[in-house]
């Protein structure tokens, strides 16, 4: 087995390399703003912070476990049918998440509607399984999954916070903008609730991020 060789250097659970796996995707290697993966769901469910929070947690759970399972199975999966195997693993995990959400937070589950199911086709998960879990050991894969899902979740929460605050003056359903502001003529920006503004918000986030990290600028 080729695995014995990669096992020999005994690493600590949170060595510098493993920490990097966890922290890189949140910042410099963010799946959404840099790798352009998994954008579909970011945009549609970010009207409210609460729904986004539930979504982010679901994705972290699915992705962590999918990476672990694929990493455990990586020597047993024939390469030709690996996509089907991956999809089956992800779909089973998503079914679990969907049932849990329906049982405990039914109203949010209604609000997310088809987007829970669409975690299956979230490109981040497939992308990380292909690029990382298929060729790495279990623990790094788990960290990589959690890290990427957290990077995804952080953008999700940021966009949702901006949209909910500007669009309806609330966060998590609690009113933030005080009433006297409305009395003196402040008006919620109704455009922020509409879907296209999610795209523009993400565009601005990318702008800010690349402005601060000139090495990320797309030269083409």
């Amino acid at each position: 087995m080729s695995d014995t060789q990669e096992n020999t250097p005994k690493e600590k659970l949170f060595s510098a390399k493993n920490k990097k796996l966890l922290s890189d995707p949140i910042g410099k290697d963010n799946p959404i703003t840099i790798q352009v993966l998994g954008i579909c769901s970011v945009l549609a469910i970010t009207v409210q912070l609460k729904a986004s929070l539930v979504m982010a947690i679901s994705v972290v759970a699915v992705m962590g476990f999918a990476n672990v399972i694929i990493s455990l199975l990586r020597h047993g999966i024939p390469p030709r049918i690996r996509i089907i195997v991956q999809l089956t693993v992800i779909a089973s995990l998503v079914i679990l998440v969907d049932q849990v959400l329906k049982a405990f937070v039914y109203d949010v589950s209604r609000q997310l509607s088809v987007f829970v199911g669409l975690i299956i086709t979230n490109c981040i998960i497939m992308g990380r399984l292909e690029a990382f879990a298929l060729s790495n050991k279990v623990w790094p894969s788990f960290l990589d999954g959690i890290g990427n899902a957290a990077g995804y979740g952080s953008i999700l929460l940021l966009v949702a916070a901006v949209r909910e605050l500007l669009g309806s003056g609330k966060l998590m359903g609690y009113q933030i903008i005080p009433n006297f502001m409305y009395d003196i003529g402040y008006v919620d920006n109704g455009l922020m609730i509409l879907p296209p503004m999610a795209l523009i918000t993400v565009g601005v986030i990318i702008w800010v991020q690349r402005n601060n990290n000139p090495e990320l600028v797309d030269v083409s």
Partner: protein, 205 residues
């Protein structure tokens, strides 16, 4: 006939996959660099959606839904397999994508090589699974409606990707601020296109 046309037009313009639901954004952003490849991918998406939505409709109504198995024998009337929806839908989609891939490879090798990795990735294109899940959620009355919904969504996606590709080809000559180049400006243009498409909202056919 009228209601089929109605659903068709509605799913192209009002419930556009990209501008109203943001489905299939990954390949939309990644493949839209030139018009030619994006037209190819758009056609493939129309084709796959046009097949998978009706197939999944039949699956939903004759296998998965609650009581759907009663056509085999009355004793299955209480069986509800709807928790298997996701896994069955994605299996159908993956199989269909494989089929499309083989067809394109046979008849248009140039298109096949220019689409590259994105052809197999249609299987994980959210627009495809999203189409099937919306079909399930909206309870279309018969197969014809499911077909027109699938084709309409595909055409809507095709229009969106062709449009953004054309704009991106032109914008290459513009002086965009450096940090916005590439991805950032594409997001913002898509947002503006989405606002434009919202003018179709509320149209009753």
């Amino acid at each position: 006939m009228e209601e089929y046309l109605n659903i068709f037009v509605k799913s192209i313009f009002i419930d556009n996959m990209i501008f109203a639901y943001f489905l299939g954004m990954c390949s939309y952003l990644a493949v839209s660099r030139t018009v030619e490849t994006s037209v190819g991918l758009g056609l493939a998406v129309i084709f796959v959606l046009g097949i998978t939505v009706p197939v999944n409709y039949l699956l939903e109504n004759f296998v998965l839904g609650s009581g759907a198995l009663s056509w085999i024998s009355p004793q299955f009337a209480n069986v509800d397999l709807s928790f298997l929806t996701f896994i069955m839908f994605i299996a159908i989609i993956a199989a269909m994508v494989q089929l499309v891939e083989m067809i394109i490879e046979k008849f248009s090798p140039t298109l096949y090589s220019s689409l590259g990795i994105f052809l197999p990735l249609i299987a994980v294109n959210c627009a495809i699974l999203g189409g099937s899940l919306f079909m399930q959620e909206r309870n279309y009355a018969n197969l014809g409606e499911a077909v027109s919904f699938g084709l309409g969504s595909g055409v809507g996606w095709f229009l969106a990707i062709a449009g953004i590709a054309a704009i991106r080809e032109k914008i290459r000559y513009s002086n965009v601020p450096a940090p916005l180049r590439g991805l950032g400006i594409t997001y913002i243009i898509t947002g503006l296109m989405g606002i434009a498409f919202m003018s179709f909202m509320g149209i009753e056919l």
